[in-house]
């Protein structure tokens, strides 16, 4: 065996940005895809939710692999919420990968590698494992040692199910593994026919006594039903990225090494693609195009956008959902202006969903849902005050105030947040508008202050 040191493949780190959207359970649509005003944590945004619902159905049917969707709208209008809603409605079987535009910038890995990994994480491969097993409850186990002390041991194992009982003659190897697993009468075991591997499932209920001295991890199970020799089929879903990783880490079935960079070689990816396509041809695998969600997509630069353009054309491509809150702005890495900071050629491929600002009534409902989610009781007047704050400053700020006001309320041993609590946190924490106001008034007394600071360069 070669002893080349294989650098471990690094994964891009996942940052959970869903804390603020933990109340989202789905898109809140009825069977006819009509959005309900308030449902599954979703409020308002009826048109965009309906549009997302149509896209969701297409994803479920597998119609729109390799397409892209852009959710555009002002800050705090529920873009991430809609993406989360789509993710929740897809169920556990469809892969959903979320990342933020800024996550791909890392010293350890090139931008395109990070994007490639994200793309491949969002594609699932469904495969089936089939094994012949013998499953039964041990009635009796009898092992004879030869009188001389050496030589082959012989033994008998009696197994039963609810329907039948039979005796197996044991060979030397079988006896060893039975002893290693400490199999006793009353255990329920499975034996893999191909490998001879024995696993203990637990103790049979019929053997349970009142004062059994058992380890804490002993489990009681029912005596198996049906035939002794069963066929077990297990369906697994793995992502393409996971298959990539094991094949660059070890001498996998394609026996390829990764380079020194901790990145996955494109040769490995091509080989995996070929293998998976071969499996699909043979009916051994189903490919599930999942969803890749890139939040704050304006943080990507020109290089990434052209990568996306190309990646979407590959036949193994997930549905790409992007979200941005920018209007017409400079594309990162260039001096060109473009809507949403996305190049026109990519924009042309996108289905665009727009979100609009929430109305007062909707804001009120969202705040109510968040209160329930954060376990904070809100009095009627406080709710009204908070809604006004939400309308005049921003929804995010108002949501921040819920938990802080909850803390203030608990400190004075109250059970319900009152207007006073809201007032107190409102004076403690500045919202964006008041903070800028403060800066304007007192900027002369801050350190490192430059009088003609131009607009901050955000790139």
């Amino acid at each position: 065996m070669a002893t080349t040191k294989v650098p471990e493949v690094r994964d891009i780190t996942r940052i959970e940005r869903i804390g603020a959207h933990s109340h989202i359970r789905g898109l809140g649509l009825d069977d006819a895809l009509e959005p309900r005003q308030v449902s599954q944590g979703m409020v308002g945004q009826l048109a965009s939710r309906r549009a997302a619902g149509v896209i969701l159905e297409m994803i479920k049917d597998g119609h729109i692999a390799g397409r892209a969707v852009l959710i555009a709208g002002q800050p705090g209008t529920g873009k991430t919420a809609i993406a989360m809603g789509i993710a929740q409605s897809l169920g556990t079987d469809t892969p959903f990968t979320a990342l933020s535009g800024s996550e791909i910038f890392s010293l350890e890995m090139s931008k395109t590698e990070a994007l490639s990994q994200a793309f491949r994480k969002a594609i699932g491969v469904r495969i089936k494992e089939e094994t012949e097993i013998i499953e039964g409850e041990v009635v009796e186990i009898q092992i004879d040692r030869p009188a001389t002390g050496t030589g082959a041991k012989v033994g008998k194992l009696t197994l039963k199910t609810t329907e039948m009982e039979t005796i197996y003659d044991l060979g030397n190897k079988m006896i060893e593994s039975l002893c290693k697993e400490k199999v006793q009468a009353g255990d329920v075991i499975t034996i893999d026919k191909a490998t001879g591997k024995i696993s203990k499932l637990g103790r049979s209920f019929t053997r349970a006594r009142d004062y059994d001295a058992m380890g804490a991890q002993t489990q009681f199970v029912q005596c198996p039903e049906g035939e002794l020799q069963k066929r077990k089929e297990v369906v697994h879903t793995v992502s393409l990225h996971e298959i990539d990783v094991i094949n660059s880490r070890t001498q996998g079935f394609l026996a390829l090494f990764s380079g020194d960079t901790g990145e996955i070689k494109s040769e490995v990816r091509e080989q995996i693609n070929a293998k998976v396509c071969e499996w699909r041809e043979e009916g051994k695998a189903e490919i599930i195009p999942g969803v890749l969600f890139i939040d704050e997509v304006h943080m990507l630069d020109m290089e990434c956008f052209s990568f996306l353009n190309r990646a979407l054309e590959s036949d193994l491509s997930p549905v790409l959902i992007m979200a941005t809150n920018r209007g017409i702005t400079r594309i990162r890495g260039t001096n060109y202006q473009s809507p949403h900071g996305i190049p026109i050629d990519l924009l042309d491929r996108l289905l665009i969903i727009a979100t609009s600002p929430y109305t007062e009534k909707e804001t009120r409902q969202i705040l109510k849902i968040r209160c329930e989610e954060e376990d904070v009781e809100l009095s009627e007047e406080a709710h009204t005050v908070l809604t006004r704050i939400g309308m005049e400053t921003s929804l995010r700020y108002a949501i921040q105030l819920i938990s802080t006001a909850g803390l203030v309320c608990r400190k004075r041993k109250g059970t319900e947040v009152q207007v006073e609590d809201i007032k107190r946190v409102y004076s403690l924490f500045l919202d964006e508008a008041r903070s800028s106001q403060y800066m304007k008034e007192y900027q002369d007394s801050f350190l490192f202050h430059e009088t003609q600071t131009a607009k901050m360069d955000t790139s």
């Binding site: 469904r126 329907e163 003659d169 191909a194 049906g226 066929r231 996971e242 996998g252 051994k284």
Partner: protein, 133 residues
């Protein structure tokens, strides 16, 4: 006299019951064949290990014992065993289709990956580390 709706419901329920009955019968058939397979296996083992001294063995057919040469007997049982393996395989294949049919009738979704053919053991070994999670 029953009206058309209840007639239809009754017919539908009968069909579902029939499909379910079919599934259960096939399952029982597999169990019965496996029982037979196991007794045959016990017999083969006994022939190999316990009857090593005699040349002829008594075999029970129905309610009659017949003395037969050992090699002949082993051959006979082995043939029976191969037939049983094949029968069980065929029943299992059929069972899948029957369960599918029943699910479809009850409006349940098809199992995911139900129609896939399994990976070979080498392929499973290659990605084993992914599956043990």
């Amino acid at each position: 006299k029953m009206d058309a709706t209840s007639q239809r419901v009754l017919q539908y329920l009968t069909e579902v019951e029939e499909a379910a009955e079919d599934v259960l019968t096939t399952k029982q058939q597999i169990v019965d064949l496996d029982t037979k397979r196991n007794t045959n296996r016990e017999a083969l083992n006994a022939l190999k290990n316990e009857m090593s001294d005699s040349n002829k063995v008594k075999v029970c057919f129905g309610n009659m014992f017949i003395k037969l040469p050992k090699s002949k007997t082993r051959e006979m049982i082995q043939k029976d065993q191969d037939q049983l393996d094949e029968d069980i395989n065929n029943l299992r294949k059929g069972l899948k289709a029957k369960v599918n049919h029943l699910n479809e009738m009850q409006g349940k979704p098809e199992f995911k990956g139900y129609k896939l053919s399994p990976l070979s053991s080498d392929e499973i070994k290659a990605i084993n580390s992914l599956l043990k999670r």
